[in-house]
């Protein structure tokens, strides 16, 4: 496993600035290695979100916070899993689903040490808690305190409802289009693509992909359905999102 848990207890160490990096093939290897790390950490965020009972939108916020944080900052300086935990905590506050630090620490500890008994109320616990809280402040400063984001979820819901009315209800109940598009949306958050595209485009793209996957036929009029639902989205945009998503699935295959 990653060297995460052992270095989690002291936040002070994380604030040491990194040395310069070499360029060329080493750099590319670094980048792909970083992307893999991010992928794994986002998977951790998702899993912890489920275990903490968080809704989809706060988990999405946590991922976006994480990606935004590491956009300008190097992985060698900050412990990614600690940042992830603090992102969860901060996202809970932002999206009004408050999560206690105690629960986050419990779940994370168990993630890394599976089957272990719960932590006692001792120094290690309080150190961890302090780390999470301090890191939260660090994230806020790094992001210039801009922590509220617009997510594709509400757009997706609306689009799905609109498209549903076009389709024969039996055909609809046979194909799990809604569930698939929702799952695809959640998968988008494993990579930085979630911050590179507009939320409406992401929603349209996931729905498009889901509909296409099941071969659902939609009527064709003067305009396509996705042109109607979202002003100004083009096939190019949709394809860009889908290709990013597929790259993500590629990486998943390599990471496991």
């Amino acid at each position: 496993m990653e060297p995460g848990p052992s270095s989690r207890s002291s936040a002070a160490r994380d604030l040491v600035p990194a040395a310069g990096r070499s360029s060329g093939p080493a750099r590319e290897a670094d980048i792909s290695r970083d992307m893999k790390t991010h992928f794994r950490v986002c998977r951790f965020i998702m899993e912890a979100g489920v275990k903490l009972g968080m809704r989809s939108v706060p988990v999405a916020t946590a991922c976006v916070l994480y990606h935004n944080f590491f956009k300008r900052v190097s992985l060698s300086v900050y412990e990614p899993y600690l940042v992830a935990m603090s992102c969860l905590y901060l996202a809970g506050k932002v999206e009004e689903q408050h999560i206690r630090t105690r629960d986050i620490i419990n779940v994370s500890h168990r993630y890394f040490n599976s089957g272990s008994p719960p932590l006692e109320c001792d120094k290690e616990f309080w150190d961890l808690r302090d780390s999470v809280v301090q890191c939260e402040l660090l994230i806020l400063r790094q992001l210039n305190f801009q922590v509220s984001f617009e997510h594709p979820h509400k757009y997706l819901l609306h689009y799905v409802m609109s498209v549903k009315s076009l389709v024969n209800r039996h055909a609809w109940s046979r194909c799990p289009v809604a569930e698939t598009s929702w799952a695809l949306l959640r998968d988008c958050y494993h990579g930085s693509m979630c911050i590179r595209h507009m939320p409406q485009h992401i929603a349209i793209a996931t729905l498009y992909l889901a509909l296409n996957s099941y071969g659902v036929e939609l009527p064709v009029g003067e305009k396509r359905w996705w042109q109607v639902l979202c002003e100004g989205v083009t096939k190019v945009d949709i394809d860009a999102v889908i290709s990013d998503l597929l790259q993500l699935y590629d990486m998943e295959a390599k990471c496991i």
């Binding site: 899993e47 489920v50 275990k51 903490l52 009972g53 809704r55 989809s56 999560i99 105690r102 629960d103 419990n106 779940v107 168990r110 993630y111 599976s114 008994p117 719960p118 006692e120 819901l157 799905v160 409802m161 609109s162 498209v163 009315s165 076009l166 024969n168 209800r169 609809w172 109940s173 046979r174 194909c175 799990p176 809604a178 569930e179 698939t180 929702w182 799952a183 959640r186 992909l209 296409n212 996957s213 099941y214 071969g215 659902v216 036929e217 009527p219 064709v220 009029g221 003067e222 305009k223 396509r224 359905w225 109607v228 639902l229 394809d239 889908i242 290709s243 998503l245 597929l246 699935y249």
Partner: protein, 586 residues
């Protein structure tokens, strides 16, 4: 893998997908089973991108797995749809924006319209076998725009609900009416709940936050309890209690903490709290040995306490409970035996006493009315005595005699109060009773003022105290404000004093009188308002008002004369009231 889904997908995408799928999914046994049926590969209808095909091919096992079916929505009632409509704006159907051609929309509608969809139409023709509608819009179920599709529907006479007592239901309907019809009985609706992510079931239950937290709380609480027990053994009871409370904060209803705290309470002698702690602990864990033992001992203690308080039956119940918890406890057995004896003795004694009482009661069988009459006579006698004494002596002696008479009256009053309360119930108040209550009201004021140096007579309109003191004050509070507006008298200062009266004892004599007048008159007016229909009351009010007008002049008179005057006025009023009331009473 779901065959239908796969087939549908292949139909849509065509040959290229089929070949990609075969490449990717050769290892998959499900696919191989299914592929045999899918040999025929029709042309792809749409130019689907290679990316999508690649995705489908790679993820086919997840996409087409039957586990999605568990997540598919169930049929639900109409209300769900309305709820969903409130959560987001209801838009016109999408095909409108897409500008789908006419024919296609029509075919779509015919394909999709089903039993249970509600349509709204306008009647354009009435025949003897039914009426024809042009369909305007959908009202439930399907969400389509059908107005310009020029559809017409026939509503057969069999299906028209009978409207009232018309023989011919058709006559109820005219051309141009709007009709909302439900094609058939049940409607199909799909819910719009997307929340569940299918991997929720894949994580072990023990990894969830709430489960871990609970285990952790128990372990933390136990640590505190151990520390507390350590304190307790060394005699530091306060610290021990703190530790136990801390433990219970961390983990409410923690069994060990409750038992330990209960033991501490029992030691200190706070029996009731100890019992409740033990009970709570036993609810969670009915077989806790220590809890049962301690509870048994504590209950025996409690029983002894109750015995001392003469609550023998309760004590017996407590001992029985203790014994049920721990049969072998010798103390409990002993105590139970003793108490059953005592109870039986006391029952016997009581029965004998009752028998005796029964005989006595038989002798004195007066009716309540007679008793009341007797008491009233007694009161009048007392009053007359008091009047005589006040007229002959000074205010201080009058006070003495009044206190003596008042004290004797007080005793009589106690008996009367109970009877009056029951009699007052729902009946109309007769003048006699009113006067009694008035006296009682005044009596209470006298009791109040007895502590003070001087005794202040009630104002002449005391007979207006048909209400007793409590309602008086309530009205005084409410009506004080209204009173000023109503009468327009310069009573602002007095009202202010009236306020004081509510909170503190009156300070000075003149102040007192004025206050009482204020409250009386205010209660008057309030009462008269409240009992509007009673004309007699209003009549009396006028007389009282007349009395009130005179009171300002009375302030100059010496206390004795004031006193006499008021007594006389009161007595006269009573006499005046009684004949009136006797006609009024039902």
């Amino acid at each position: 893998m779901d065959r239908d889904l796969l087939r549908q997908c292949l139909t849509y995408h065509g040959e290229s997908l089929f070949s990609t799928l075969k490449c990717e999914q050769t290892e998959n046994p499900d696919f191989q089973a299914v592929v045999a049926d899918l040999c025929k590969a029709p042309n792809g209808e749409e130019q689907s991108s290679p990316l999508v095909e690649q995705f489908i091919a790679r993820k086919a096992d997840i996409l087409f797995s039957p586990s999605w079916k568990t997540a598919t929505p169930k049929e639900e009632e109409e209300p769900r749809q309305e709820e969903a409509a409130e959560a987001y704006a209801v838009m016109p159907p999408l095909e409108l924006f897409m500008e789908v051609p006419f024919e296609e929309r029509r075919t779509m509608l015919y394909r999709d319209l089903e039993r249970g969809d509600i349509v709204v139409g306008r009647i354009n023709n009435v025949r003897e076998y039914g009426f024809f509608l042009t369909l305007i819009c959908m009202a439930g179920g399907l969400n389509r725009d059908i107005e310009d599709l020029e559809l017409s529907a026939l509503c057969h006479i069999k299906e028209i609900p009978s409207a009232g007592s018309h023989d011919d239901p058709l006559s109820y309907y005219q051309i141009g009416d709007f009709i909302r019809g439900d094609k058939n009985l049940h409607s199909v609706d799909l819910n719009a709940n997307f929340g569940k992510w299918w991997t929720d079931q894949l994580f072990a239950k023990e990894d969830f936050a709430s489960v871990i937290r609970k285990k952790q709380s128990v372990s933390w609480a136990l640590k505190c309890v151990k520390a507390g027990v350590g304190h307790f053994k060394q005699g530091r009871h306060v610290e021990a209690m703190n530790e136990y409370n801390k433990a219970l904060d961390i983990d409410t209803n923690n069994v060990e903490a409750l038992v330990a705290r209960g033991a501490l309470y029992a030691n200190k002698g706070v029996i009731l709290k100890a019992i409740s702690d033990f009970e709570l602990a036993l609810e969670t864990c009915p077989d806790h040995r220590n809890a049962k033992k301690y509870l048994c001992q504590t209950l025996v203690e409690r029983g002894k306490q109750l015995e001392e308080q003469e609550k023998l039956v309760t004590a017996e119940g407590v001992y029985r409970r203790a014994l049920s918890l721990d049969d072998a406890n010798p103390e409990a057995q002993e105590a139970l035996r003793k108490i059953t004896e005592t109870i039986q003795n006391s029952i016997r004694l009581r029965e004998e006493a009752l028998a005796k009482e029964g005989e006595e009661k038989a002798k004195s069988s007066q009716s309540s009315a007679e008793k009341l009459r007797k008491l009233l006579k007694e009161e009048k006698r007392m009053k007359r005595k008091r009047k005589r004494s006040t007229s002959s002596s000074s205010s201080s002696s009058s006070r003495k005699s009044s206190t003596s008479s008042s004290s004797s009256r007080r005793r009589a009053k106690k008996k009367k109060k109970k009877k009056r309360k029951s009699a007052r119930g729902g009946k109309r108040r007769s003048g006699r009773r009113r006067s009694d209550e008035g006296k009682r009201g005044r009596k209470r004021k006298e009791d109040e003022e007895d502590e003070e140096a001087e005794w202040y007579p009630a104002p002449p309109d005391t007979s207006a105290t048909f209400l007793d003191q409590k309602t008086w004050e309530a009205f005084g509070a409410a009506a004080d404000e209204e009173e000023g507006e109503e009468d327009g008298r310069p009573r602002s200062s007095e009202r202010g004093m009236g306020d004081q009266r509510r909170t503190a004892e009156p300070q000075r004599s003149s102040l007192d009188e004025r206050k009482r007048r204020v409250s009386c008159s205010s209660s008057d007016s309030a009462y008269s308002r409240k009992l509007g229909p009673g004309k007699d009351f209003s009549g009396r009010n006028f007389s009282l008002r007349g009395g009130e007008d005179q009171t300002p002049s009375k302030e100059d008179l010496p206390a004795n004369l004031l006193d006499i005057f008021q007594q006389i006025a009161k007595f006269q009023k009573e006499k005046g009231i009684e004949p009136k009331k006797s006609t009024n009473s039902i």
